[in-house]
Every structure is written in structure tokens, then in C-alpha cells.
């Protein structure tokens, strides 16, 4: 199944830049002004060298960090702080260890002043969606890393955001689990029609999941390439051996390699100048 191209932007990033002040004085330019747009229901992956500012960009879109310049808007509404229409899934395990799976999933619903029965019913729906039925009353320590990450996804989806921001959500998982949970994420995305912005280090993951890949440069980061991914869903392992896939993967890799080399040289220079 291939989703159709959007007519207009659902998520708009206009001239967003970020400069951080350093403790010992001076500044770091994390992001150069970035302009980008994502259509409703699109799945976009962001890849880039380590420390380039992918997470900063995602946190700005989430409203968790204020940009130095520029603005983000969802459906024309400016994002000035965290909001219900934007859900975030973090890389780190973000489940609360003292709450059961169902209580973790309904955490955001408690903000909504929804009746407890309604919260539980909604949480059960989401637990079912992420394939954790039967584990409602388990505590996070009783679950695997992949299951805990699914709890975090369910908690985010319970609030029914129109934009889902995922910051290397499978970064801490083993390759097999990543693959499986990636397939489940695609099913969830296809059934919910969310707009997804997905940060990853893994080119293969980006190409198997998304409709478009943004390749970011090293600091001050900008989007160096925006590559549409033309493959039909479902994308099975046979895709990996096609010329088109190899060509796209090589193209992303060549940009990443240059930028990673620049990042490495800069860090070496910094270390040697100390």
C-alpha cells in the first residue's frame, strides 16, 4: 500500500535555528535555519551524524525546546510549547517503573480529566494496538526493552496526537526486535494515519519505514538532502537486494560519510586544541 502525496503541509518548520550558550562562555550553533514541510499522514525519517542536532530539531518541533529563530506550526497553529496534537516517543526507556503497563498508558489521559473507566478503556485499546494484551498489569521491570518501548508508544498514541515524533525509539533494542517492532509501527501508522517524524541512525530502518528521508549535515545542522522513498508497502527483505534500494542507500551513506568525517575532524581538532 502506498500512501498518496499530501496536498498541503500538516507540519511546517520555518527558519528554525538553535544556538546554545556554553558554560565557559561562547555559543554553539546547533541548527542553521531549517525550512521543511510534512504533509498529513506522511512518514519522514531523519538521519544524520551523531550530535548533529536531530534530537534538538525534534524537541523544537515537540515544543520542548524553544528555537533561537523561526517557528513550527501544526495545521497553521504555531507550536509554542508541548501540545496535545504532538506526541513524543523518546529513545530512552521512559516508562514509569512504579506504574503498571495500563497505568503507564493512561498517564496522559489523567491530564484530560477523563473518567477512570474511560481512561482504562482507551488504555486497553492502545495496549491492544501495540500487541501487549495480557500484560496490562505487568510492571515495566517484567517486560523486555522492546515491550517497554511499545508501552511508551501506546501512552503517546492514547492521546491521539496528529503528529508523532520518535527520537531513535528503537536505538536501544537488538536488531531482530528493531525489525519486528518496525513492522508493528508501520501497521500502527497505517491504521491511525498519523504524521510521523522519525529520527534514526540506521539507513536501512529509514528506508524500510519511511516515505521520505531527510539527511542532515553536521553542526550547524541543516537538511542536506530530502530523498523520497518510492517503494511500495509492505517492504520485505527482498527489497534490500534491489538496485533502487542499493542506489538510495549508497546516496544517503555518501552524504552521511562526508558529514560524519567533518564531525570527527572537528572533535579531533577540539581535543587537540585543549
Amino acid at each position: 500500500m502506498e500512501k498518496s502525496e499530501p496536498r498541503e503541509a500538516h507540519l511546517l518548520i520555518e527558519g528554525v535555528s538553535k544556538t546554545f550558550g556554553l558554560r565557559g562562555g561562547g555559543t554553539t550553533h546547533a541548527l542553521s535555519p531549517i525550512d521543511a514541510a510534512v504533509g498529513q499522514g506522511r512518514f519522514v525519517s531523519i538521519v544524520g551524524p551523531s550530535g548533529c542536532g536531530k534530537s534538538t530539531l525534534l524537541n523544537i518541533v515537540a515544543g520542548l525546546v524553544k528555537p533561537s529563530t523561526g517557528a513550527v506550526s501544526v495545521d497553521g497553529e504555531p507550536v509554542r510549547g508541548p501540545r496535545r496534537s504532538i506526541g513524543v516517543v523518546f529513545q530512552e526507556d521512559s516508562t514509569l517503573p512504579w506504574r503498571t503497563v495500563i497505568d503507564n498508558v493512561r498517564l496522559g489521559l489523567e491530564v484530560e480529566r477523563m473518567r477512570k473507566a474511560a481512561q482504562i478503556s482507551r488504555a486497553r485499546e492502545m495496549i491492544d494496538l501495540v500487541g501487549l494484551t495480557g500484560f496490562e498489569h505487568a510492571y515495566p521491570r517484567e517486560l523486555s526493552g522492546g515491550m517497554r518501548q511499545r508501552v511508551a508508544i501506546a501512552r503517546t498514541l492514547a492521546l491521539d496526537p496528529s503528529v508523532l515524533l520518535m527520537d531513535e525509539p528503537f536505538g536501544a533494542l537488538d536488531p531482530q526486535t528493531r525489525l519486528m517492532i518496525g513492522v508493528e509501527l508501520l501497521q500502527m501508522w497505517q491504521s491511525t494515519n498519523k504524521t510521523v517524524l522519525f529520527v534514526t541512525h540506521d539507513i536501512q530502518e529509514a528506508l524500510l519505514l519511511s516515505q521520505e528521508v531527510w539527511v542532515m549535515s553536521y553542526r550547524p545542522a541543516t537538511i542536506r538532502e530530502r530523498l523520497p522513498v518510492p517503494f511500495e508497502y509492505p517492504r520485505g527483505p527482498e527489497l534490500l537486494s534491489t538496485d533502487e534500494y542499493q542506489h538510495l542507500s549508497a546516496r544517503i551513506w555518501s552524504v552521511l560519510q562526508k558529514e560524519s568525517q567533518r564531525a570527527f575532524d572537528e572533535r579531533e581538532h577540539l581535543l587537540s586544541s585543549r
Binding site: 523518546f90 521512559s94 514509569l96 512504579w98 492521546l159
Partner: protein, 258 residues
Amino acid sequence: MQRELFRALWSQVLTFFALAVLIVAGWWLATESGLVDTRTFPEVGRIIGAQTQLSDPAPATFLDHLAVTTVRVLAGLVAGCLLGFGLGVLFWRLPVVGRALEPYLLAFYAVPLVVFYPFLLVLLGINSWPIIAISTVMCSVPVALNTWIGFREQKEIHKMVGLALQMPPLLRFRRIELPGALPEIFTGARVGAVYSLVGTIGMEFMVSSEGLGYAVRYQYETFNVPSMYLFLAATLALSFVVVTALLAVSAVSLRHHG
């Protein structure tokens, strides 16, 4: 977390009873074999029977003294935990106040708080309140410092979750920040319980006319050695029960903290 706490709890209980049995057995052997002077180390039977031979000036019995000290320790512990928790939250919300008061709080560890007794006597009168006040203050210091640490060193990811879900401050406090800080708060409370016991029994020893501390001093000064040992044993048993009960509460409360 919960496994370590339960392990610590069981090890504490087993160690206490094992040591108690060993000490009583060793004591019995030493006294029965004539290895030690029974005027200084009376026979086990005389110590156990001492309760019925008390020659107190007041009509207080063994259980009265035990009850007085227990109430004082628990009152000091509860009030100290509440005061310490409030102070810890205040320091967390207003770090400038916390940083300004931290040296004074740390100094409280070193100062024998009994020096404040005359002032408290004038303020609260000759009764249990000055002792409870000292016990409260002594307990509150570790609770305040640990509560502050607990809130200050929350996991960054949990803070981000609260923000991303737009949780109002009070809900965030109840659902994320307080449960996250609980392990540190309980650690502070366990240390606070020890301070509360030291404060209460020390004060009773020096300035009170009732309670276990007073009874130990009185029996010692009147050369009623078996009774003195009985009250010492009761003091140790009370300390053990309070500290172990708090460890049990911690273990149960933190059983899901990963």
C-alpha cells in the same frame, strides 16, 4: 531496588536474632561458669526477672517507661519526617534557599542538640515536648537533605515525559516527581529514625524523669545492675523494631521501583 531492600530486611532480622541468641548464650555460659563477676554481669535469669523487682521512685513500671519512649520516638520520627519532607521540597523548589541553608543543616549533624534543651524547656515546659522537639529536629535533617537530593536528581527522561504530556504541576508532582524521589526520601527517613532514637534516649538519659533512657541511668546510679541491663535490652529491642519497621515500609513502598 525492592530485592535489595527485602534482602536487607531479612538480613537485618536474621542478624539481630542470631546475635541476640549468641549474646544471651555467651552471657549465660560466662556467668554460669564463673568466668565473669556476676555483680557486673548478672545472670540471665536475674536480668529477665528484674522487671518484677523494680524499685522505681515513681510508680512507673517497665512497660510505662517503654511506652513513654516509644511514643516520644514515634512522635519525633513522624514530625521529623514531615518537617524534613517539607524542607526538602522547599529547597528543591527554591534552590537559593536550599544552598543558603545547606551548611547549617550539615552542621546540625555535628552539634549535640541537647545544648538547646534549656531554651526548649523555657519555650515548651517540663514535659515530653522538649524531648520530642529535639528528636524531631534531629530526624528532620537527613530527611530534608535526602528529600532534596531525591527531587533534584530525578531522571531527566521522566521530567521530559511530564512536560511532553503537559501534566499540570500538581499532577506531575503526584504521579512522577514524588514517586521518583521516594527511594531517597526513605533512605533519609531510615537515617532520621536512628537520629530520632539517639535524640530521644540521649535526652531522657540526661534530663528526663521517665522513659527508657532515664530508667537506664536511674538503675545504674542505684546499682540495680540486672534492671539496668533489662532496660538496655529493651532500648536495643525498640531501636531494632523501629528501624526494621521502617525498612519494611520502604521495601513494600518501593517494591515496583525497578
